[in-house]
């Protein structure tokens, strides 16, 4: 049976849910997710959502905008940063009104705490801007928006995977789904398609991402001719629990935690004299990796210590209880009395599908693709530039998710349903059958190699030679992938098959990351080139765009929008 919708939202994290809630009652909305919606990875966000509410101390949206631009090392489009910061207070109040159980100040207002890179008066010192619900802010916002989606009776299709995206003659026509429970391949036509499928941190070996974060929506846009923007900017969060990579929120440092090297020395003041442990993530991750490379990891190993022992057990229990339970469960460490071993972990993708401020996906000429929208980590507005600040991702999701929903409502009069030929179903079914018949390598072995290669050549520190070698290896795995094989030939809940299909996304995105990172011969934000250690505004104050052309990948560039803040040296 062929389904059709006025608007189809792919991905059920905060961006997808928030967009779906914004689409008016009269339109038929479908929400497709490869997991049950409350399993989405937005739920793993811990520390909070940024907004200059001034509930704890004076703050202003202009300072927030400035921090976002400087945190992004001036690659941030400043109209996007302005939209984000100006809309932040409204967005947070709206979440409170929907029911998010924020922590509270003594007067009953939303409580706020300090976070990396967020400052008062244009960089003077840390400011309390992060609105939080203990250390499970993402989870309770996800639950709240999901409750709203239930209240609004939105059609939700759980455990349904988008196996292809259909763009016909320059406009979105729908998607093809693979139903995990039955193995059925179906066309779903829609007048508008919103991609909100999240990031792809799973491209790296050590990461904080869930298994589902394989970037399918981003890759399918790319495969269908959409450019990808700023893909070289990969955020490594400084404090992943060693060796798992599970995140310890910046909130731990916002509440007073400090980083120490193997000598027990607090090293961050040497790297960032003003913000110290609360410098932006790229700065702190480089500092940690520098300490480790220079032999000052703990016991000579590749990790340092995050020390929360100064906080006291009560504060940890009240504000950081999930984090302390992770340390206890996975390491047997009592964070109130012992330091937590941490190391940088791949966390977030600044790059993605280029959109305007209203979620409309842009082609390589900067023109909107009719009926195609993107929001959240899958999209690149670009509001995070070369490095995202903590608490700006949840904000991005609800601010730009809502704007994408508004766009769909606004545009729908001019959007129409297109026919999609059944040939695509036959073609995808043949592709699935070919994987089932194949005798080649297994997805797990190829995936492990991709993740090792990316970790080795394109992490916190990068250089041309290693990345060129890495790219060569990725291309050779791409060849081997053509004969990928699986054990499971069944139709029902065949996650073996899903692994194989997702691997195509990971491979394609790994290649784009490398091509973008090799091209950018400067260091900016999260992209640090050992062979080009300086930022080079003269040549590189521009966005990287990579498009799949007929002769391989094509690189082009797009200017950065600069409005209020001229680029200057970035010190913290």
């Amino acid at each position: 049976m062929e389904l059709q919708f006025d608007a189809l939202v792919v991905g059920s994290g905060l961006a997808g849910l928030r967009a779906a809630l914004e689409i008016p009652e009269g339109l038929k909305v479908g929400l497709v997710s490869k997991v049950f919606p409350t399993r989405s990875h937005s739920g793993a966000a811990q520390g909070g959502i940024g907004a200059a509410l001034s509930n704890e101390e004076p703050d202003s949206w202009e300072w927030h905008m400035y921090d976002t631009v400087k945190g992004g090392d001036y690659l941030t489009d400043q109209d996007a940063a302005e939209t984000l910061a100006m809309d932040a207070a409204r967005a947070v109040y709206e979440l409170e009104h929907m029911g998010v159980p924020f922590n509270r100040t003594a007067e009953g207002k939303i409580a706020q705490r300090a976070f990396g890179g967020h400052t008062r008066n244009y960089g003077e010192g840390p400011v309390k801007r992060s609105c939080y619900a203990a250390d499970r802010t993402g989870r309770v916002v996800l639950d709240t928006l999901f409750g709203k989606a239930l209240e609004k009776k939105i059609h939700i299709f759980s455990e349904v995977y988008m196996i292809d995206l259909i763009i016909e003659k320059g406009h979105a026509a729908g998607i093809v789904t693979y139903d995990l429970a039955t193995g059925a391949v179906e066309i779903v036509r829609a007048r508008a398609v919103l991609i909100a499928t999240g990031g792809f941190g799973r491209v790296y070996k050590t990461n904080s991402n869930c298994f589902s974060n394989t970037g399918d929506g981003v890759y399918l846009c790319f495969r269908n001719g959409t450019p990808l923007e700023d893909m070289e900017f990969v955020q490594f969060h400084p404090t992943g629990i060693y060796p798992l990579g599970v995140l310890v929120s910046e909130a731990a440092r916002g509440e007073g935690g400090i980083l120490k090297n193997g000598l027990g020395y607090r090293f961050m003041p040497d790297y960032a004299p003003t913000l110290k442990d609360l410098a932006p993530r790229d700065v702190v991750s480089r500092a940690i990796d520098t300490e480790i490379r220079q032999g000052r990891g703990v016991n000579g190993r590749d990790y340092v210590h995050l020390d929360l022992t100064g906080l006291g057990a009560d504060k940890i229990e009240e504000k950081l209880s999930d984090i302390s339970s992770f340390a206890r469960i996975y390491l047997g460490v009592d964070s109130a009395t012992e330091p937590i071993p941490v190391t940088p972990t791949c966390h977030y993708m600044m790059g993605g599908i280029p959109t305007d401020l209203n979620g409309r996906v842009l082609d390589k000429h900067g023109k909107p693709i009719i009926g195609l929208y993107a929001a959240g980590e899958a999209a690149c507005v670009s509001v995070h530039g070369a490095n995202r600040l903590g608490t700006n991702s949840l904000l991005d999701l609800v601010v730009f998710g809502r704007r994408a929903g508004i766009s769909i409502a606004h545009d729908e009069k001019n959007l129409h349903l297109s026919d999609i030929s059944r040939d695509i179903v036959n073609e995808l079914t043949s592709k699935i059958n070919a994987i089932k018949r194949s005798k080649g390598p297994k997805p797990a072995s190829l995936r492990a190699r991709i993740r090792q290669i990316m970790t080795d050549c394109c992490s916190v520190f990068r250089n041309n030679d290693d990345m060129e070698k890495g790219l060569e290896q990725i291309l050779s795995i791409k060849e081997q992938y053509r004969s990928v094989s699986i054990d499971n030939k069944a139709d029902k809940f065949n996650t073996d098959l899903l692994d194989a299909i997702e691997l195509e996304s990971l491979l394609g995105l790994a290649e784009v990351i490398l091509v973008s990172a090799i091209a950018r011969t400067e260091s900016r934000g999260a992209h640090y080139r050992e062979d080009y250690p300086q930022r080079d505004d003269h040549n590189w104050l521009k966005h990287t765009m990579v498009t799949a052309g007929s002769d391989g990948l094509e690189i082009s560039f797009k200017p950065v929008k600069i409005t209020k803040f001229e680029p200057k040296a970035r010190t913290f």
């Binding site: 109040y93 029911g99 509270r104 003594a106 309770v140 239930l150 209240e151 798992l244 054990d487 996650t495």
Partner: protein
């Protein structure tokens, strides 16, 4: 170390009856049971089906029965299993769809039944005020990740499929004790029925298995007391 995972296998459309298969896995004591399952699926037997996503106890996907007890596979470590044989089975009380995957639709229907969203009037311009003391009344209920461990482990649910079950009651608790919600009486009234809150017999299994350490039974009893206080004595 080498351990054996004894795993429940069943494909209702093919197999006449469920069976168990033993897998030998090399695992470190600090690794998760989920790591062992992944090793089986990725290296030995790709036909094994189970759900998983975040792998650190936040998303709630990988609830299953491990050595007879409902738990998250990503939160149970090899060293905590106390034996070199780990028995892995699907959550009880639900219909098995394949291997360790169960049909959770009846569970989510019951969660939806309690209206897990806030009812409140026209909001002020800024946030609604809520004192830290009022906020604390929701307690640990905001930690619930809807993994269904509590409901699956509940002996009453096991015998009475009409019982609402612990997780929906935790969801109801969260809204009943949210000072911002305006439907407290309606919510209490909805639960004041035989298969609502009164079916709970204080077995405390829900509390024992909850991977987020929510005092589930205590919260159910708090709802019972609130019903008596606000709605008067129960019809029973």
């Amino acid at each position: 170390m080498k351990i054996i995972l004894r795993v429940f296998r069943f494909d209702p459309s093919v197999d006449e009856a469920p069976y168990y298969r033993n897998y030998s896995v090399q695992a470190e004591p600090y690794e998760r049971v989920l790591d062992c399952l992944n090793r089986i699926k990725w290296e030995q037997d790709g036909t094994l089906a189970y759900r998983m996503s975040c792998a650190h106890g936040v998303c709630g996907s990988d609830a299953m029965k491990i050595n007879g007890r409902c738990a998250l596979a990503c939160q149970k470590l090899v060293r905590d299993c106390e034996a070199d044989l780990i028995l892995v089975e699907p959550l009880p009380s639900f219909t098995v769809l394949k291997d360790l995957i169960v049909d959770l639709n009846p569970f989510f229907d019951k969660v939806n039944f309690v209206h897990p969203f806030l009812y409140a009037g026209t909001p002020p311009e800024k946030e609604r005020l809520q004192s830290p003391e009022e906020r604390k009344k929701m307690g640990e209920s905001i930690r619930c990740i809807l993994c269904a461990c509590c409901t699956a482990a509940c002996p009453v649910v096991n015998e009475n499929e009409n019982f609402l079950g612990p997780a929906p009651l935790v969801q109801a608790f969260r809204r009943i004790f949210d000072s911002r919600d305006t439907q407290k009486i309606e919510r209490l009234d909805q639960l004041d029925v035989e298969d609502g809150v009164w079916a709970c017999l204080n077995h405390y299994e829900c509390t024992r298995v909850c991977p987020k350490e929510i005092p589930v039974t205590k919260y159910i009893n708090t709802i019972k007391r609130e019903i008596k206080k606000i709605l008067g004595p129960s019809p029973e």
